[in-house]
């Protein structure tokens, strides 16, 4: 019996020792417990950079999980390929739904974009939620960056999807009302304007162009105002950016905008670094023939080729080329990963599928052309000398020096098309200029596509509709 006691005592001791909470609650050794994070400036800055990282997206080559967010890397599908600028090489598959104006609500790319940009908003809300722990000197900058990026994401979403859920704070999965209630786009724009005004007030210039700055916020807000028809406010902002003291200007050579990263034409870009898993991009290679996992997308349409040939000046050479492997097909060359010896463009990465070319969101030529647009103020044309000066700057760099005395809206739109070709501007420009029905109807008829006016808005992803139990409504036409 004594022995039994000994054993029992042993057992009990064993149990009580091990019952300590630590045994059953081992702490995280990789990864960070969020409860104790975001306590100081450097930790909050890691959260701020995470917002940019969300826009940057993951490289589809490296991580083949289709559920990951690809961010801006797939933006060309929902913008350029829905315009008259680009198409797929093969005209087939999910990717071809865009060029045919035949997008299904189950389209995975649309869902990816929606998810990616709401994820960017989430990341921004996370920083804003923890802002109280930042030092007084840093907090305004972090707030400015987070709000700039949140506004950027909302601005794209509201233009692509129309009325959308309004999420300006962290929400739990149980808050289905917020998640599935579509709010009028005017309210979304109120948030965008509000956020960008805070960014303009809180941010300053002088940092790297892959971080938000006062100039970037002013430029983006100007575009928002142009979209809302608030032209004079836009003009003021643009002229503020154009002030010589701000240090922005056009690159001398058009090619250098894209292949001389960090140049002072670029106000804001999404940074990529070649041959890295986390920070390289794959879209550059997808636009080539038979190189990446997906390839032959965002090929130049004949319509865009003609426009560039006629009006591009010296920009044409650095905008597209004929596919070496397939005659009669044309590729975008603003972001070549593997270079082009004939054009004097060196490869940007040893593996083209891990490209390092930055994605330019806003550049000075855009500011100048927006300036013209702001002065035109929704009219059919302008003869304003200020507008003409801005317009001519862009054309002169392109080698088109013929002076103009007036600029029509169509001319401006065309200039934007050839200057900013394949930079995901065309679709938004056409809509903003109010020319969508004219241009797309004609383009659709000429190419046998299926455009109707409801195609200007993307479908709300079917997966969201399915999860909403009837709360979330679909856009018309889907």
């Amino acid at each position: 019996m004594k022995q039994i006691k000994t054993v029992l005592i042993l057992l009990v001791t064993f149990v009580s020792i091990s019952c300590e909470d630590t045994y059953l609650s081992p702490s995280l050794t990789t990864g960070i417990n969020a409860d104790s994070y975001f306590a100081n400036d450097s930790e909050i800055e890691a959260g701020v950079l995470n917002i940019y990282d969300g826009i940057q997206g993951v490289n589809a080559l490296q991580i083949t999980n289709n559920d990951l967010n690809h961010g801006v890397q797939i933006e060309f599908y929902v913008t350029e390929m829905r315009s008259d600028n680009t198409e797929t090489k093969s005209n087939e598959g999910e990717a071809a739904q865009f060029e045919f104006f035949d997008i299904r609500s189950t389209n995975g790319i649309v869902a990816d974009y929606y998810r990616s940009y709401y994820n960017v908003i989430f990341r921004a809300n996370l920083v804003l939620d923890n802002l109280t722990n930042a030092s007084a000197s840093k907090a305004p900058t972090y707030e400015g960056e987070a709000k700039f990026l949140r506004a950027y994401a909302y601005f794209n979403l509201v233009r692509l999807f129309g009325d959308i859920p309004y999420v300006d704070k962290l929400i739990s999965p149980l808050d289905t009302e917020t998640a599935f209630t579509r709010v009028a786009s005017t309210q979304i724009y109120d948030l965008i304007v509000d956020d960008l005004q805070t960014a303009v007030a809180n941010l300053s210039d002088g940092g790297p162009n892959d971080r938000a700055s006062k100039a970037a916020a002013e430029g983006l807000l100007a575009k928002v105002f142009l979209t809302l028809g608030r032209y004079s406010e836009a003009q003021t902002l643009l002229e503020s950016v154009m002030d010589n003291s701000r240090g922005f200007g056009l690159e001398t050579n058009f090619k250098d905008i894209f292949y001389n990263e960090g140049n002072n034409e670029v106000l804001f870009a999404i940074g990529y670094l070649a041959d890295t898993r986390n920070d390289s991009q794959n879209f550059s290679t997808e636009w080539l023939n038979a190189v990446g996992r997906t390839s032959g997308v965002n090929y130049v349409s004949l319509d865009a080729k003609t426009a560039l040939d006629t009006y591009g000046g010296n920009r044409t050479l650095y905008s597209y080329r004929e596919d070496q492997a397939q005659a009669g097909k044309y590729q975008v060359i603003k972001y070549l990963p593997d270079g082009d010896t004939d054009l004097g463009i060196a490869p940007t990465s040893s593996d083209p599928r891990s490209a390092g070319n930055d994605w330019i969101v806003l550049r000075y030529a855009d500011i100048l052309l927006m300036h013209v647009e702001a002065i035109m103020a929704g009219g059919a044309s302008t003869t304003s000398s200020n507008a003409i000066v801005s317009f001519q700057q862009v054309r002169t760099r392109a080698g088109i020096t013929t002076p103009v005395t007036s600029i029509t809206a169509d001319e401006l739109l065309l200039e934007r098309r050839v200057e900013l070709a394949f930079e995901n501007q065309r679709f938004f420009d056409i809509v903003r200029f109010g020319k969508a029905n004219d241009i797309f109807t004609a383009f659709s008829a000429a190419n046998g596509l299926g455009y109707t006016s409801t195609d200007l808005l993307l479908p709300i992803p079917q997966i969201e509709i399915g999860l909403s139990n009837g709360l979330l409504s679909q856009n018309p036409g889907y």
Binding site: L49, Y52, D53, Q56, F122, D210, S350, D351
Partner: protein, 1026 residues
């Protein structure tokens, strides 16, 4: 175990017998079984109270040196022991009687053992009598068809790859649905099954119902497989050598090969002439069946050497195994070396210690390609360029990409494009294109890649057992399980169409260490007719994993594929996690007069996976049984020898789930920030932190509640025996990685939601048809029926999922139906060839579209016309085995079948080129286009996955020649063995393996992408014992 106990009892009884010194002499004789007078090999014979002993040989014969007055003990598992006092006999023939036949077989249960006759739960025992003669590399593959209620499916057919094991159906969605594997009392990962040597396994016990597995609490929910390895037996050292060698060949699919000849004939007949494309293809003069190239068959060899023996105090067993399996696919291979050492030592009468050590090393070279991708290559494409085909290479196109092509290079489809038929030479833009992909040669994708998984494992344990008092034993066991897994994958310069720039090396090392410490106190007591067996104990488990990966990209050449030769390191990542489990458990078995039986068990598990509110889970079970045959009115019946009714009810659990992120899997209650990614700031990389999950502090155990009435019987002098079970297993609080609105910032959140029910009937029937000395014939019939139903899915009812957005075939989780049922439109008819744009190119292709049915008759095809198209779960799985012993020959065969499951055969989609736009219908001429949909969204590719196979066929011969004895060989046997000699699939199934499943996620189960083929094995084996 039983043997030891018996010996001990016998020993105690005989302690007081006096022994006088006498002259020794050799006594010999034969030991026979009472029932059929057949010789019993391996009977232990020992002189009581000494360490001297021997065993009978294959003929049941023995000889041993004795002296008058000695007492000889004869013991044999399943037979009553006999003791005989030596009084100068020269020969001593012994007849052992079967101890109420199989009734008193000992069954291993969790943390203890039980008499089979006292079992009240559903436990199946499989002894390794001939399992090691089945020509398979893994122990789980050998179990196919051996146990009712257990479905083992070769979902992947590569050499060394694991089958999917399901006990009584799939009860979980995101949780793990595989059983818990326990080797000699130590829980191991399912992966461990690949490291075990069948030759060294004594038996399997499969705990099927909750009452049996509840002692394993939170891990018993999907059943438990207990594996017992061989232990040394008392007696002289016995050396045993087993060898098995053979060859595997693949079953091919006829549908997946369209020969050039057939394609030409088809086109000629339909159109009266041949298109330019077809004529160019003909000129190449190649007609490859790619299945012949990638299913190259393979040899396998298995050697096993073991030594076992011992004295009264110390018993040991040591085994060595080497296996090499070339697999049936091109380049796959599996190699295993393992050592198993087991020692038990009695320090004193009360105190026993033991240890075991099991290092194993496996190297699995994988087939690093996809059969569906390779087999969609046309038959006109050669592997390498030769004298003829090189003339067709177009050296101008693609910017002169193929200008330097030479004989012996891999042939690429694009090389042959733009051929001018009139000029008879490659053209510069005006010729005929025949390619349908720019990819490199499929053989290059296999041969120019090297993917190897190396697993080094060590499972070791020590235990101490102390007999505190009569019937009361304390036992403590500590075990350590270390696993080192290294996976390297090199994609060589020629493996990709992009050449060196796409070459890369990935190397991932995972190290896992798992400690388990169990303490148990066991009490057994018989008081009159009452028999009590109780155990209480606790268990600590601690598992830690570290994972490191590195990727190097761009290699100049393949000379030295090591990471230092890469142009850049493109990825580095690491994580580690730890999980712990703390448990208390107890069980009480009670039997009255061997008639009335009851068992209660309880386990409380604390798991590190759950948050403070839900850390502990309680799992309890109760079962009762009634041995009717022991009642007076049946006691002497010759008709009914055994009849037992039993009912069990119990609750088990599951805390194992897969979200795709190991940190979330182990710390789901914490909000985790990943810090292994970087972002760009100022053109350089900087730390970013990103939330990985929606934390769920209330996440708790998935539960399985099971009710299982059953019946065991033996009739007509045990000629017919068997059991019948009915069960309903309800899984609720399912651990679900549920999709949520992406506006939250996440796509999924872990929740407890829903309920799945599996119900079914199991039958095991064994008959002894002929029992003669020289002729024995037994038959075993096993059948299991299971029905799976999603009974509650709350807000997620009707949830539709797909494998990926590019191949968006749908699965639905709809209440009242099996989980993850196939969903989509119903095919009405094919589009006539006249409306298809290029009906004869690529060859073997068919249209990707089809007319579907307007089910609700509203004139349009929409989501309302979709319906459930089938499910991937078999309704009935059965096996039928016969075992003959005729003289020195033995002959066994087993048929096995599965019925009622469907697969979504994506192989058709790829191999028939359903993604190729060349096959689109003509949009201007085709009628009723509003009823046309892509086949992938229809039942066009849902196929019946039923099969009937001749799983095993085995013919053996036992040598009895006395010369063997002179060679000191006690036992020798040769045999030939065959697996899957024939394998019949259902009508309409086009693939080569109905069991293959590409994606084993529960919500998109049944997705088959050609996969790897069913294979036949022919082998020759040899067993020798010294």
């Amino acid at each position: 175990m039983k043997l030891k106990t018996k010996l001990t009892i016998v020993l105690i009884l005989l302690v007081n017998i006096c022994v006088f010194a006498q002259t020794t002499y050799t006594i010999s004789g034969v030991v026979l079984a009472e029932s059929d007078k057949s010789p019993l090999p391996g009977v232990t014979i020992r002189i009581a109270n000494t360490n001297t002993g021997t065993q009978t040989d294959f003929d049941g014969e023995y000889s041993i040196k004795v002296k008058s007055g000695d007492v000889l003990e004869f013991t044999y598992l399943g037979y009553g022991a006999k003791t005989v006092k030596i009084t100068d006999q020269q020969t001593l023939n012994i007849i052992l009687s079967e101890e109420s036949s199989l009734l008193d077989e000992i069954v291993i249960t969790g943390y203890g053992t039980q008499k089979k006759s006292h079992l009240t739960g559903a436990i199946s025992k499989v002894k390794n009598e001939t399992l090691d003669q089945i020509g398979v590399a893994r122990v789980d593959d050998a179990l196919v068809g051996q146990v009712s209620g257990v479905n083992i499916q070769a979902t992947e057919g590569e050499a060394g790859s694991a089958p999917t094991i399901r006990i009584r159906g799939t009860g979980s969605i995101n949780g793990n649905s595989g059983p818990l594997i326990v080797v000699d009392g130590v829980p191991v990962d399912e992966d461990f099954l690949g490291s075990l040597d069948m030759n060294n396994i004594e038996s399997f016990e499969i705990l099927k119902d909750a009452a049996s597995s509840a002692i394993y609490g939170s891990r018993g929910g999907n059943g438990v497989v207990l594996i017992t390895t061989k232990s040394g037996k008392e007696g002289n050292t016995r050396v045993s050598y087993n060898m098995l060698t053979g060859f595997k060949t693949a079953h091919q699919s006829d549908a997946y090969y369209t020969s050039m000849a057939d394609a030409v004939a088809l086109e000629q007949e339909a159109t009266g002439n041949l298109s330019d494309k077809t004529r160019v293809k003909q000129l190449l003069g190649v007609d490859n069946n790619w299945q012949d190239i990638i299913f190259d068959g393979g040899a396998f060899t298995d050697h096993s050497l073991s030594l076992g023996g011992g004295t009264k105090k110390t018993k040991y067993n040591a085994a060595f195994n080497y296996l090499n399996d070339e697999g049936v696919l091109l380049s796959d291979n599996f190699e295993r070396t393992s050592v198993n050492l087991k020692i038990d030592h009695k320090l004193t009468k009360k105190f026993t210690i033991g240890l075991s050590a099991n290092p194993s090393f496996t190297t699995q070279k994988r087939f690093d390609g996809s059969t569906h991708d390779i087999l969609r290559q046309p038959s006109w494409l050669p592997v390498y360029l030769d004298e003829n085909t090189i003339q067709f290479v177009n050296r101008f196109r693609d910017g002169g990409k193929y200008a330097n092509a030479k004989i012996g290079d891999y042939a690429i489809q694009r090389m042959f494009d733009d051929y001018d038929l009139v000029a008879g030479a490659p053209s510069m833009g005006s010729g005929t294109d025949i390619s349908n992909t720019s990819n490199t040669n499929p053989a290059a994708k296999i041969l120019e890649r090297d993917r190897v998984i190396q697993r080094n494992k060590f499972l070791g344990s020590i235990y101490a057992k102390y007999k505190i008092a009569s019937g009361l034993t304390f036992r403590s066991k500590a075990s350590m399980n270390y696993q080192y897994r290294r996976e390297t994958r090199y994609q060589g310069v020629l493996s990709n169409r992009n050449g060196a720039s796409a070459s890369r090396l990935d190397s991932t090392v995972t190290k896992t260490i798992r400690w388990v410490v169990d303490n148990t106190l066991t009490y057994t007591k018989e008081i009159g007719k009452n028999e009590v067996n109780a155990v209480i104990g606790n268990s600590f488990e601690n598992r830690k994993q570290t994972w490191n990966t590195i990727q190097g990209s761009v290699f100049e050449n393949d000379l030295s594929p090591t990471i230092d030769k890469a142009a850049s390191i493109t990825n580095q990542d690491a994580y580690e996690w730890k999980r712990t489990l703390l448990s208390f458990f107890g069980r009480l078995n009670y039997a009255y007069d061997n008639k009335y039986l009851a068992s209660f068990s309880y386990r409380r598990d604390g798991s590190s996976v759950f948050g403070p509110n839900t850390k502990y889970g309680d799992f309890a079970a109760a079962s009762v049984g009634w041995n009717v045959a022991k009642e007076d009115f049946l006691k002497d019946s010759d008709v009914i020898n055994r009849l037992k009714f039993r009912v069990s009810y119990g609750v088990t659990g599951n805390n194992d789930f897969r979200t795709g992120n190991q940190l979330v899997d182990n710390y789901p209650y914490l909000a985790i920030l990943s810090n292994n990614t970087t972002g760009i700031s100022g053109g350089s990389q900087n730390l970013v932190v990103n939330p990985l999950n929606v934390p769920n502090p209330d996440l708790t155990w998935e539960r399985q509640i099971e009710f299982n009435p059953g019946l065991d019987f033996a009739l007509l002098n045990n000629r017919i025996s068997g059991s019948v079970d009915y069960y309903t297993r309800t899984s609720d609080q399912l651990l679900l990685y549920n999709p949520i609105s992406s506006t939250t910032g996440f796509s999924n959140a872990l929740v407890n939601l829903g309920e799945v029910q599996n119900s079914g009937v199991e039958l095991e029937l064994r008959t002894r048809n002929i029992i003669k000395d020289k002729f024995k014939w037994t038959t075993t019939l096993i059948g299991s029926k299971n029905k799976n139903e999603l009974t509650d899915f709350a807000d997620s009812n009707g949830q539709i999922q797909n494998v990926d957005s590019k191949r968006a075939a749908e699965w639905i989780n709809l209440e009242g139906n099996p989980i993850s049922s196939f969903y989509g439109w119903v095919v009405d008819k094919e589009i006539p060839l006249e409306f298809v744009n290029n009906p004869y190119h690529p060859i073997g292709a068919s249209a990707q579209d089809v007319y579907v049915k307007d089910l609700n008759g509203d004139g349009i095809i929409d989501d309302d016309d979709k319906t459930i198209l089938g499910n991937p779960y078999p309704d009935l799985v059965w096996s039928f085995a016969n075992d003959f012993k005729i003289g020195n020959f033995d002959f066994t065969f087993m048929f096995q079948g599965s019925h009622g499951a469907e697969v979504r055969n994506m192989g058709d989609q790829y191999i028939f080129n359903h993604f190729n736009s060349a096959q689109d219908f003509n949009t201007s001429t085709t009628p009723d286009q509003q009823f046309i949909r892509q086949k992938i969204f229809t039942n066009s590719i849902i196929q019946d996955a039923s099969y009937i196979a001749l799983r095993n066929l085995n013919v053996g011969y036992n040598f009895t020649d006395k010369t063997l004895s002179k060679l000191k060989i006690s036992n020798a046997r040769v045999f030939v063995s065959a697996q899957n000699l024939f394998y019949i699939t259902a009508d309409g199934y086009t693939g080569f393996n109905p069991e293959s499943i590409n994606n084993t996620s529960a919500t998109t189960y049944g997705y088959q992408r050609a996969g790897s083929p069913v294979f036949s094995t022919m082998s020759l084996g040899l067993n020798v014992q010294f």
